[in-house]
Subunit: 308 residues, 2 copies
DNA sequence: TAAAAATACTCCATAGGTATTTTAT
DNA sequence: ATAAAATACCTATGGAGTATTTTTA
């Protein structure tokens, strides 16, 4: 019978498409990995790898086996986690993935409280876009994600935490009155600046504006901070999530306007594998996030120009 | 990291509750299995087994880990199957489970045809009740089941093959006219003989008769053959599935009556793990069964007294 | 005292390492 | 010619066996 070790090597080989680099990831020599792959092929009586060309590529069967191997390795991680069993929640290592439009705003508030309440929690943080995070979650490289819901994959369980409303950030000299409620037409009448492709926030903003052809912005920005600089410089307007206000609106050249109902917003929440053995940790983490952010309010009225 | 071997040993230990017998099942010595279990406990840093009393019993954590281990072992089997990949369907070993009220009637017709068409198919047959078969299917000990649908577990995929109608078998001297259509009142007016608890056919017959308190039969029989003997002897009546007619009704002291619409029946079909790598085999098997049974008809009119 | 599991110890298969060859571009 | 994977060969670890001890009911 084949071994989990062989599956780990195959998984690495499938992801790298290269014996040497796969071996490096597994911290073994290239011949060691080669041997195990070859042994696995003997066990399964099937050719898994095309070694013909310079580029190592899996066969049809190899890809299917690798897919199942990845699932088993994920299950193995969950099994190991489940053995921690009775351990109180939020102790030991926990791998958390966060999207870039949440991380810089949520973490500074939540992390200190988290470490205060759960001193032996060893949090490992990864910031990346939803797509990447979901892959890593599936692989078992991450235990839980903090991102915008809903997901279109049914394989994960989710826990909505709070609604994060979007506000319209405009240059201070914009003719819109300070206390006005903005609407989609106000956005359409201005140059809309958004994050580059791949950020879910971009899609959510576009969905609200119904501006499908929103490549009108030339290049997409790579961070909200950059976008706010552009807004402050009068280059255009943007939809800013509420959580980012405190951190990003400290420039007198920007004013914020609430939208008319129904206000655009995103649902922020957690996601984890349905098979995860750390659901209790996820629930506890969700609790801390909600409580911490609630305690951080009330923030100054968002409809007023930033002034400090 | 732990190994698949350790999971196999734990799985056996969980099922036997006894190191010695678990070791025997795994074809290793008791110390070898003991060692691996102990090594697994070290790996997981958790106590999995209560060794206090004479009876070996898993801890809470141990049971959870064993449950996940069983899932992984099942996935491992499916992975190995999937590597057979391009192999044409219905070749190699296939483990088929069948319920007792189908096996003696379906197999004699289907097996010869199956071996004729797929000469290198190595079919392993297990006859047992639905509950047992589902457990073995889950474990991966079986690849596919032939039984009555629907299942109440959503974890398996199913393929309905045909409807198997029930007929009322009564002693030849019963006053009911030979061509009559029977109804539930006819059944209620007679002593109903059924299989013992655990046979799905019993439940299906009772569901039709709406006779919840049907322990009126004293002891349940263990086979349809026995029941038909009892009917022939004038001891009572029974609901006989159509597939069993040819084999079980060869006694002149029995006559069969169709039921009035809606006739009671059961849906016969196949079931397999959603993760199975042998779905093509299942589909092919289903095709052979349907075609073979269809070819076996037309049978003599069921409403006539058996006479041969 | 008897049954069951753990320990002691020996052996060998196997995973892994380094050095080298083969292969394909 | 070069990069990548396979092969050769050696070492060490770990899994398995048998014999024995410990434990507990």
């Amino acid at each position: 019978m084949f071994t989990l070790r062989q599956l780990r090597y195959l998984d690495a080989l499938a992801r790298h498409g290269h014996f040497g680099r796969a071996a490096e990831e597994c911290s073994v020599s290239q011949p060691a990995l080669s041997m195990q792959i070859s042994e696995l092929e003997n066990e399964l009586k099937a050719k898994l790898v095309e070694r013909q060309q310079g580029a190592t590529v899996l066969t049809e069967v190899g890809r299917e086996v690798a897919r199942r191997a990845a699932d088993m390795l994920s299950a193995a991680r969950d099994l190991a986690d489940s053995a921690r069993g009775g351990a109180r929640p939020l102790s030991g290592p926990l791998h958390l993935g966060i999207i870039p439009t949440l991380a810089p705003y949520v973490l500074p508030r939540v992390l200190p409280e988290l470490q205060r309440r759960y001193s032996d929690l060893r949090l490992e943080l990864i910031e990346s876009q939803t797509r990447t995070l979901l892959n890593e979650l599936r692989r078992g490289a991450l235990d839980v994600l903090l991102l915008a819901l809903p997901l279109d994959t049914p394989e994960f369980e989710t826990l909505p935490l709070f609604e994060d409303h979007f506000l319209l950030a405009v240059p201070a000299d914009d003719p819109l009155p300070e206390r006005a409620r903005a609407c989609t037409r106000d956005v359409a009448a201005r140059r809309l600046i958004l994050l580059e492709e791949g950020h879910c926030l971009r899609d959510q903003a576009l969905a609200y504006c119904a501006q499908r052809n929103a490549t009108n912005t030339g290049l997409g920005a790579t961070s909200l901070a950059t976008i706010m600089q552009m807004v402050a410089s009068g280059y255009g307007v943007t939809l800013l999530p509420e959580v980012a206000i405190d951190a990003e609106v400290r420039d007198e050249r920007i004013k914020l306007l609430r939208f008319a109902e129904p206000q655009p917003c995103r649902t922020v929440g957690l996601a984890w594998r349905s098979t995860s053995a750390r659901k209790a940790d996820c629930a506890a983490l969700g609790r801390v996030i909600v409580e911490t952010l609630r305690a951080a309010k009330p923030r100054r009225p968002a409809s007023l120009r930033a002034a400090r």
